[in-house]
């Protein structure tokens, strides 16, 4: 009896695990904008000790200035400490860099909803009859310093007064 119950529960868990894992949708996204040679991170981090203390990094990654809720968290709140080739959700689940939108979507739920529907951010290519491409959040927003910098505008139109006479 006990063996049958164990068997049934194992099968149930076996079926439900993939189901819970598949609760998110997959989106055809462009690749993550890694800097040259930075990925896979485990190339360096596999042999390094994990230092979970919140601090300013002095040895490596010094170019990264965190300006993204830096009072509330730091690197290892998003990057998985155990496996640097993956990111970490709030419940501890590890996600690939190609699914980083799931991480951003935890806090930015409204925007995540809009992004999934296709109305947040850039879309290029075909909207019908061809390949649609979603951009990852990080294709436009730097995850460490996401605020857009002001850019130089294109020139204004020529004033009609300036077009009088022969040119």
């Amino acid at each position: 009896m006990k063996i049958i119950l164990l068997f049934i529960s194992l099968i149930t868990i076996g079926f439900s695990l993939p189901a819970s894992a598949a609760q998110h949708d997959d989106y055809p996204v462009s690749p993550p904008p890694f800097s040259e040679g930075i990925f896979p991170c485990s190339n360096c981090h596999a042999g390094l000790e994990v230092n979970a203390k919140k601090r300013e990094l002095k040895d490596e990654h010094t170019a990264i200035k965190l300006r993204h809720a830096e009072q509330e968290r730091w690197c290892l709140d998003c990057h998985s400490a155990r496996n640097r080739d993956k990111l970490k959700l709030a419940d501890g689940e590890a996600v690939n860099f190609t699914e980083s939108y799931r991480l951003c979507g935890q806090c930015h739920g409204n925007i995540y909803r809009d992004w999934k529907a296709g109305i947040h951010g850039k879309r290029i290519g075909f909207f019908k009859g061809g390949k649609r491409t979603y951009f990852l959040c990080v294709n436009c927003h730097n995850p460490h310093d996401p605020k857009f910098k002001p850019i130089k505008p294109e020139p204004p139109p020529i004033r009609p007064e300036a077009t009088h006479g022969r040119q």
Partner: protein
């Protein structure tokens, strides 16, 4: 043989005359010549040679067109007293009034042609041959009624003149219905032209119900005022018999029209200034200047001064019946209404533009000369009409069967 005689005498009247006549024609032909060179430039380089741009896409040409349709419509004012009130002194100038209307319509149509970007595609607008968008487009209506009015205003005078040439009275049963038809048609052409501007929600300056009545009121001032001046000139140069009473009667009617014109203007000013919505902007631009742009302000205030002064002159019988003040008043009205209806109506309609931009339009030399050229052409056509029509009306140019042996000396200015 009679046709050859007619042709020979017509050529004589047109090409030969007094020194004043030669000077006048030479003057007009010079202006026309210069205008043609400017127009060729416009055809070649495109409308960029004018000062019109996307922000103000209609300018001097359409302003003149609007004014001239009004002048043409006002020929009716001369017709109504003659045929409805049987006011005899006016009868003799009705034909000439209708020929004035015809010349004005020809000028108006030429202004539209000058303003068109692609006059080479003019045939697109001909009904059945092209695709005239009747009845949706008010411009299509305008094409039909303006050409219809032109046909009427050449048909009736030509019929009457031909009858006079053959020494016969015109058949009243044929003429009177056509003349009566021209009354609603005259109101029609100017109403349709007003509706052209009126029906545009994008231009709140024009989208006021008062526009069509204002057009008619100002037309019935400017047309007869022009007629008053022209007929005095014809009286002097062509020996036409026009009694002063006829001129005074016309000027009295002008007084009433100008009153209505000023009253309607006052109503417009009250509505915009008192309510003070965003739609006040074009009117403010015209009368005060907007955000530092005020090039039309001196023009409109001169027009206001001229119109009000003329109104007073025409209202008071003493000044109305004095030829000097009458002529000053008439000139004031001709210029004042031109400013008010030409520049002062078309340009502020575009300022500010639908996205709030202000582009101050003032016509440049190309537009001014092409416009002067068209005016000169219209005056030349009218002069030639008069050269032939007046002798026929006087009875001097008549079928050889009826020709008198001697020509009356005192009317020898035009020798057929």
């Amino acid at each position: 043989m009679e046709a050859w005689r007619f042709f020979k005498k017509t050529v004589n009247m047109v090409f030969f005359g007094t020194r004043g006549y030669y000077l006048w024609c030479a003057f007009l032909l010079t202006i026309i010549g210069v205008a043609i060179t400017f127009y060729i430039d416009q055809l070649d380089a495109g409308l960029i040679v004018t000062n019109m741009r996307d922000q103000v896409s209609w300018g001097l040409y359409i302003g003149n067109f609007t004014y001239l349709v009004g002048v043409a419509a006002a020929a009716v004012l001369l017709v109504i007293p003659a045929y409805i009130y049987h006011f005899d002194p006016i009868k003799e100038i009705v034909v000439l009034g209708e020929l004035l209307a015809a010349s004005a319509i020809i000028m108006a149509l030429m202004f539209v042609l000058a303003d068109l970007g692609r006059p080479d595609r003019f045939w697109h607008i001909i009904p059945f041959i092209g695709t005239l968008s009747f009845p949706k487009s008010l411009l299509a209506w305008d094409v039909i009624v303006l050409n219809g009015y032109l046909v009427l205003n050449t048909l009736v005078p030509i019929y009457i003149l031909v009858k006079s040439y053959f020494g016969k009275e015109p058949n009243k049963k044929f003429v009177i219905p056509l003349v009566l038809l021209s009354i609603p048609l005259a109101v029609g052409i100017h109403t349709v032209t007003a509706f052209l501007y009126n029906g545009l929600a994008a231009r709140p300056f024009w989208n006021a119900s008062i526009l069509a009545p204002r057009f008619l009121a100002s037309a019935f001032c400017s047309g007869p005022a022009l007629a008053i001046i022209i007929f005095q000139i014809l009286r002097k140069t062509a020996g036409m018999k026009i009694k002063n009473e006829a001129l005074f009667k016309i000027s009295e009617l002008i007084a009433y029209s100008m009153f209505i014109n000023l009253f309607l203007l006052g109503a417009e000013l009250f509505k915009e200034y008192y309510t003070g919505t965003i739609h006040l902007a074009p009117m403010e631009y015209l009368y005060q200047g907007l955000h530092g742009h005020n090039s039309l302000v001196p023009w409109i205030w001169s027009a206001m001064f001229m119109n009000i002064t003329a109104f007073v002159i025409f209202l008071i019988p003493k000044t109305r019946e004095n030829l000097i003040t009458l002529n000053i008043g008439s000139l004031f009205i001709i210029v004042g209404v031109w400013i008010e209806k030409g520049l002062g109506l078309i340009v502020p309609g575009f300022i500010p533009d639908p996205l709030g931009e202000i582009y101050e339009y003032m016509p440049n030399i190309t537009e001014i000369f092409v416009s002067l050229g068209i005016w000169a052409f219209g005056l030349l056509i009218f002069t030639l009409f008069m050269r032939i029509a007046i002798p026929i009306q006087r009875g001097d140019f008549i079928h050889s069967k009826y020709a008198k042996a001697t020509i009356r000396r005192q009317y020898e200015r035009i020798k057929p």
